[in-house]
Symmetry: C2
Subunit: 249 residues, 2 copies
DNA sequence: GTCGGCCATTTTGCATTCATTTTTTGTCCT
DNA sequence: AGGACAAAAAATGAATGCAAAATGGCCGAC
């Protein structure tokens, strides 16, 4: 059994055994729907090495289903850009080149830039107040050098801006691209440089300021530049040697 | 007639050269890949009424295949947002509400805005010259009141800007959203108002000007406003003449 | 000793088949 | 006559089977 698969013999998810305790499903009641969600999470979490070839058979065993719904889910994941489907040669986790990452970051920047612009048109004072709260909370994390908390709050701020844009299509697209990037766990390391961190905080203050003034164009510009700088930091980090131990879970 | 099922006995043989090529060349070999391309074109072309329920069996007969590859293609189309997949109730052509259209237009505006910004970073003089050529050509169409030629050239200009952004991810996303909108055939009517047409020409001149100066932020702003105005015109057009009452049961 | 062709095994792609759910239709009761 | 219930018919969801292509190993040739 010369398994070309690295370490894919993994429990893909606890997934609450088939006890039959769950028929209350909002949207994805069907099997292929659930498989899709689980597989997507599984890939996004980075449990499969890049470019690793994962035979359908093995995935079927792991998931306890037949190949038909699995293949449907794979097609969708391929359409989402998470995996690649080579004809007659199976599915591979799409490996993102540095160029791909740059492109993804730029698209994310464009989407957030758009979100900021749209948000200025319809955001309520209450929403701004909520974002301000998050901002102060994030500032606290920054002062305490709590990188994990900082990133989580940071993400919530950006999500709040996207939500304030009141555009579900944008929200979905944003989530999709965010998922593609999330595979690359840059966030845990990208802001080691304290200087960049301080810059990011200043940029966030400018974001908040523009948001308060509902200055759409300005906010759009600031957000794009903010994400651009993030991108630069992330790419630089990726180019550097990674000496760290990844196990922070 | 309570049945929403129309006579879908239509020959699904368009497959003719489309204005824009799709992003996936990797699927063309396999059957489901070809089915995907044909079905997507078929839906984008608007051959299926909105919300119409099309039984898989019927599509299989039309396409001469079995249900397995068809279902795979349907899943992908659903992921792309072209159709809806109701659990146990089949696939329906996704009908876009006015709100959906507004959202789509805004996202397109954001993507083109981003494209303009990125294009300013890397566009060559030759590319600008080419766009200028298209611009003059479009101006000729405008002077001759040739709406069809105008729209085609206009589309080529916008595609050129997206291409100049040198971001394949962006290009793919742009093509996807463009396909969703294309179902709604607004373009044939949206510029009935000559005033709007003249405005659009002026905006295009401003676009070209900003592009020549590589003024990224400015071009970003102009493009967004340009698309915003397009959106307004399109939505207004949709509200006015109701050629078909989509009222489904 | 290494390269190249041949064959067995595995894997993918598609068709077919089975099981569930939905929809329709027919009948019966109010 | 109209509505409710039930059974038939059809459609969807998932599993299995089968053919074609690919992967890998083996043997022979150079």
């Amino acid at each position: 059994m010369k398994s070309t698969i690295p370490d894919t013999g993994v429990p893909i998810t606890p997934a609450a055994g088939n006890g039959g305790d769950r028929q209350e499903n909002r949207h994805e009641a069907s099997l292929h729907g659930e498989i899709l969600l689980r597989l997507r999470d599984y890939v996004v979490e980075g449990n499969i090495p890049e470019g690793a070839r994962v035979p359908e058979r093995q995935l079927c065993e792991m998931l306890g289903i037949s190949r038909t719904p699995l293949r449907e889910a794979l097609k969708v994941l391929a359409a989402e850009g998470l995996i690649e489907l080579l004809p007659n040669r199976g599915a591979r986790v799409r490996q993102l080149s540095q160029r791909d990452l740059e492109e993804l970051f730029d698209v994310m920047a464009g989407l957030e830039s758009l979100a900021g612009r749209l948000a200025c048109e319809a955001i309520t004072d209450a929403e701004i107040t909520a974002i301000e709260q998050l901002h102060y909370e994030m500032y606290g994390h920054y002062l305490h050098r709590d990188m994990h908390g900082y990133f989580q709050t940071n993400q919530r701020i950006h999500e709040s801006i996207v939500a304030a844009a009141r555009n579900e299509t944008l929200r979905t697209a944003y989530a999709n691209f965010a998922g593609r990037i999330r595979r690359v766990r840059y966030s845990a390391n990208f802001a080691r440089k304290r200087q960049r961190w301080a810059e990011a905080m200043r940029e966030h203050e400018a974001i908040l300021d523009a948001l308060r003034r509902r200055a759409g164009s300005e906010l759009s510009d600031i957000l794009f530049q903010h994400l651009r700088n993030k991108r630069t930091a992330a790419i630089e980090h990726l180019s550097e040697p990674q000496e760290d131990a990844p196990a922070s879970a």
